[in-house]
């Protein structure tokens, strides 16, 4: 009976229960709108990512998952469930960070495609440049070759003109310029009349072609002894050299020989032949 009597309605108990219940409910209502501490930080981080267009594009799914985790972390909990609140915040925070990292990875991958394109473009430009350069080089080589050829033919023409003015004869030894005996008085080695047209032309020619060396050979007729003629021919050749060095031609370009009457070009039997034999030959050597 004691048990039964416990369930008997006690006056005032009902009122008390209502008061207790309503106060519990009121307390619950007062606590409910507050999210656990720390959840605002995670929400802020998530919002920042969601507002970043790159992240919104490249981490859409991860951001959605993170959003769900953050919402769970924001759910109000009782004071005695602080551990659960911390756990939820931790999880939400990690998921936001995962979304960030994955978004960055995909953004980098997208940029990589762009980089690849840029590199290809750079390569193409390099190749085009190279081809252009090769083309230009070939062109310039061609034109310089043509220039050289034109130059050579101009030079050849010029040389021929010079040779013509010099009235020299082209032989296999070189250009042979024969200075007649009119230069010298009989038995004398001195050049007559100071200047001579032919010698002036020779000086000009040698100045224009400084790489050409000169042989100066003296010859005589057969009047007199061999020794006398040899000496005379040499002295005549020497005076031509003196003349040339006096006009500024380097002496090392000039070689002198006296042949006497060893090398006649005409018969010594006639006066005309002897005159032809009395001569100085200037041989301008061919270029090596």
């Amino acid at each position: 009976m004691t048990i039964l009597s416990f369930f008997k309605p006690v006056p005032g108990l009902k009122t008390g229960a209502v008061v207790v219940l309503s106060s519990v409910l009121l307390t619950a209502c007062a606590m409910s709108p507050t999210s656990p501490d720390g959840s605002e930080d995670v929400r802020a981080k998530l919002t920042e990512l969601q507002q970043n267009p790159d992240m919104a594009t490249h981490a859409r799914i991860e951001l959605r998952d993170a959003e769900a985790a953050v919402k769970l972390a924001e759910q109000p909990l009782d004071d005695d469930e602080a551990a659960l609140a911390d756990y939820r915040i931790y999880m939400a925070d990690r998921m936001v960070e995962i979304a960030r990292a994955k978004g960055q990875t995909r953004l980098l991958e997208a940029e990589r495609e762009l980089l690849g394109e840029q590199r290809d473009a750079a390569r193409l430009a390099a190749r085009t440049l190279e081809a252009d350069r090769a083309h230009a080089e070939a062109e310039s080589a061609r034109s310089s070759q043509a220039d050289a050829a034109a130059q050579a033919s101009r030079e050849a023409e010029e040389l021929q003109r010079q040779i013509d003015t010099l009235e020299a004869e082209a032989t296999e030894r070189g250009l042979v310029l024969t200075l007649g005996d009119v230069l010298f008085a009989t038995g004398s080695a001195e050049i007559q009349g100071g200047t001579n047209q032919n010698l002036e032309k020779l000086v000009n020619f040698l100045n224009q072609y400084p790489d050409r060396n000169v042989l100066i050979e003296g010859h005589t007729d057969n009047v007199g002894s061999a020794a006398f003629n040899q000496n005379l021919s040499r002295q005549r050749a020497e005076s031509v050299r003196r003349f040339l060095t006096g006009r500024g031609i380097e002496s090392q370009r000039l070689s002198v020989y006296g042949y006497g009457f060893e090398r006649p070009i005409a018969s010594n039997d006639s006066a005309t032949g002897r005159q032809q034999n009395r001569r100085v030959e200037v041989i301008i050597e061919n270029r090596e």
Binding site: I98, T105, G116, A126
Partner: protein, 133 residues
């Protein structure tokens, strides 16, 4: 007398029932905390994956943290704090996943830097060749 006996019997049945339920509840309470095997396995898998992706090099701190959580979870299982163990295992998994994601981001950044350098070198080369001309 008869009436009395019936009441005694009823009281006994009530007692036995109470005892039975109490036992059932006690047994239930003792066997209820099963270890969070699934969460623990998931955490171990995630950590292994991150390690394979060289997370130690690119996201060492995160990997370390995941391992710490896993160790704490194992400890909690031994002490039969199963709810805590499950949470710790989940934390270990999510942190290992973060280590993995950050590793991949770091690798991608390294590749891009390398590519950028390559393109730059090419540009410079071109610049140099252009100057020569």
């Amino acid at each position: 007398m008869n009436n009395y006996m019936i009441r005694r019997a009823a009281e006994r049945i009530g007692l036995f029932t109470t005892l039975f339920f109490a036992t059932v509840i006690l047994v239930a309470c003792a066997s209820a905390p099963l270890p969070p095997t699934e969460s623990l396995n998931a955490a171990r898998d995630a950590i292994a994956q991150a390690e394979q992706a060289e997370a130690r090099r690119y996201a060492g701190a995160e990997l370390e943290e995941a391992n710490r959580h896993l160790a704490a979870a194992d400890q909690a299982v031994e002490e039969e704090r199963m709810t805590e163990a499950d949470r710790l295992a989940q934390q270990a998994r999510v942190t290992a996943e973060l280590a993995m994601a950050r590793t991949e981001a770091a690798k991608a950044a390294a590749i891009n830097r390398e590519m950028g350098r390559g393109a730059e070198a090419l540009d410079e080369e071109m610049q140099r060749q252009g100057d020569q001309q």
